[in-house]
């Protein structure tokens, strides 16, 4: 059973009175422990597809299944909380929280509180190699360090599916490679599924499979 699967997913956007089809019947599946990179030119629908996989957007037509269960569109927040971890191109860290607190807060939202949340946050922040920077605010961290915090936040709480949107786009080559290797190691070690939307050819090197998307369809 695939951990994440789509069946004939379609997504339309409305521009004025015009209906613009963005995704056209995508069938896709990822297994536990698998790393898939999703490539495609700008405007091909990568991020829209990732948003649907992440239960952030609802498809116009088609089915999304997580752990074999069709996603109930009324419980998207609950599913995001339980099953999904995100890494964003812009990091999207809370600027007023330290690295450790950014991770701990995500755990609080997921329902883990107090000492348990603090210990888990500590564990993952050390796992991404930021033990000595845990009390730094995001503005005091480099781009690579910020992305490590974002990865730690995604890993915290044991979500079985990790979704990353251009995780290396704002990083230089060396740091980008380090981040990818670390990401791969942690995802594999904990048997998580990882879908990475990217333009970056380096991502191929850590992926088990590359999927290309063009004009809203897999090619």
């Amino acid at each position: 059973m695939s951990i994440l699967q789509t069946r004939r997913i379609e997504k339309d956007f409305h521009e004025g009175r015009e209906v613009v089809p963005v995704l056209r019947g995508i069938d896709f599946a990822v297994e536990r422990g698998e790393i898939v990179s999703l490539e495609g030119p700008s405007g091909s629908g990568k991020t829209t597809f990732l948003s649907i996989l992440g239960c952030i957007l609802t498809p116009t037509r088609g089915e999304l299944l997580i752990e074999g269960q069709e996603v109930d569109q009324r419980k998207l927040a609950e599913i995001r909380k339980r099953s999904l971890g995100f890494v964003f191109q812009q990091f999207n860290l809370f600027p007023s929280l330290t690295a450790l607190e950014n991770v701990e807060y995500a755990l609080n939202v997921k329902g883990m509180k107090n000492r348990e949340a603090r210990d888990e946050a500590q564990r993952v922040i050390e796992a991404v190699g930021l033990g000595d920077r845990q009390h730094f605010l995001p503005r005091e961290l480099s781009g690579g360090q910020k992305q490590r915090v974002a990865i730690a936040r995604a890993l915290a709480g044991n979500a079985p599916i990790l979704l990353a949107d251009e995780p290396t786009a704002n990083l230089d080559t060396t740091v980008g490679t380090q981040i990818l290797e670390m990401f791969r190691a942690l995802a594999k070690q904990e048997n998580r599924a990882l879908v990475i939307v990217t333009h970056d050819p380096k991502v191929r090197s850590i992926s088990d499979r590359v999927v290309k998307i063009q004009d809203g369809a897999l090619v």
Binding site: I56, F86, Q89, Q90, N92, F94, S96, K110
Partner: protein, 375 residues
């Protein structure tokens, strides 16, 4: 638990300061306006509150304690004869002109009794002895007169209605709503100063009830015996005097309008800063949603921020109002802020700030979490 609401609010200290300042401004405005209003109202009935009388007999339809009308002083005999009346005395309250050494003519509001000590009035005597008023052409003057009449000391003379009276004592905090300085003198002396109006006349009869006497029964009996006078209990008379000034001067309406405007300014400032802050943190709120948070989590953040702004603004505003009290006192304005007002303003500030946050609530309810993917 990580307190994102507080940390995020305090992260931008300048914005936090502006928000708190907006609330503090509104709180200070409300405290000063209501405090001044209560101070003025306190002055309007201060003498009634101080005089230890249970009932006041006035001429018919006297609007307040300052604007007294005369009636025959012999009516007091009818009052003293009523069972349940322990003591009754005539009281004259009358405006008189004072010729100052500078040549200027000013007004004074005279309170005249045969025996001031009997009524424990005035209470703030700081110099001299009230009993000495009976001994001659003397007067006791309130310190507030210095502002209008210039400096004076005990032993000085002032000319009241053409007659030189010696100042034999001073009081503090004996005030009327009119701000006309209060003068205390012997009852007969007051009558002799203005014979045309006051000879054989009084303006009030003060009544003290015997222990256990039924105030309502005594009042009914006074009304029967003095059908052309009014009889009030102390609290009724104080309320009537205060209400006169509230209604006739528009003071109450003025206070309500200013309080309303103060609240409006506070709401607008808080709503605007919270909304701007929400818009600036919209990506963060989107992230909260993306990591599994719902609108409830975000409402809790905004609600907590609004409450913190309200409490901090209240504290600053209350402190400012408190600091203004001595400044106001220097210009003879009394700022009365009772505990009930503190509690009401705190609850009001929290309610208004939460109300102001509603606009932000509406905005975050429509956040598209997909914005977290946008660059």
């Amino acid at each position: 638990m990580v307190d994102l609401a507080t940390k995020s609010l305090l992260h931008d200290k300048l914005r936090f300061f502006i928000t708190v300042s907006g609330v503090a401004f509104a709180v200070t405005l409300v405290f000063v306006q209501v405090g001044l209003f209560l101070g003025l109202m306190d002055n309007a009935s201060l003498t009634i509150d101080q005089i230890e009388a249970d009932l006041w007999v006035t001429s018919r339809n006297t609007p307040n304690v300052d604007f007294a009308h005369t009636f025959p002083e012999t009516y007091i005999k009818r009052v003293r004869a009523i069972p349940g009346v322990a003591q009754a005395d005539n009281l004259i309250v009358w405006f008189m002109n004072v010729n100052l050494p500078t040549g200027a003519v000013e007004g004074t509001e005279v309170y005249a009794l045969e025996n001031f000590e009997r009524w424990n009035f005035p209470q703030g005597v700081v110099d001299g002895n009230l009993a000495d008023l009976r001994r001659g052409p003397y007067m006791v003057l309130d310190d507030s007169a210095k502002k209008r009449w210039g400096e004076f000391t005990v032993g000085d003379y002032r000319e009241v209605l053409g007659r030189r009276l010696k100042i034999i004592g001073r009081t503090v905090d004996a005030k009327s709503f009119t701000t006309t300085p209060l003068t205390f003198m012997d009852y007969r002396l007051a009558q002799s100063l203005n014979e045309s109006d006051l000879r054989g006349n009084t303006t009030y009869i003060l009544v003290r009830l015997a222990p256990g006497a039924d105030a309502e029964a005594v009042r009914k009996e006074i009304r029967q015996r003095l059908p052309y006078n009014d009889v009030y209990t102390k609290s009724e008379w104080a309320k009537r005097s205060r209400s006169y000034w509230i209604d006739s001067t528009g003071l109450g309406l003025n206070m309500y309008i200013t309080v309303f405007l103060g609240c409006l300014v506070g709401i607008v400032v808080v709503a605007q800063t919270l909304y701007t802050s929400t818009m600036e943190h919209i990506r963060e709120f989107g992230t909260v949603k993306a990591i599994g948070g719902g609108n409830g989590e975000i409402y809790a953040i905004l609600g907590k921020q609004a409450t913190i702004a309200a409490v901090a603004g209240f504290a600053l505003g209350a402190l400012q109002a408190f600091a203004l009290r001595p400044v106001m006192a220097k210009i003879d304005l009394k700022l009365i802020i009772p505990m009930e007002l503190y509690v009401a303003v705190l609850l009001g500030a929290v309610a208004l700030c939460l109300g102001a946050a509603v606009i932000s609530f509406r905005k975050v309810a429509t956040i598209d979490p997909a914005l977290v993917f946008r660059t």
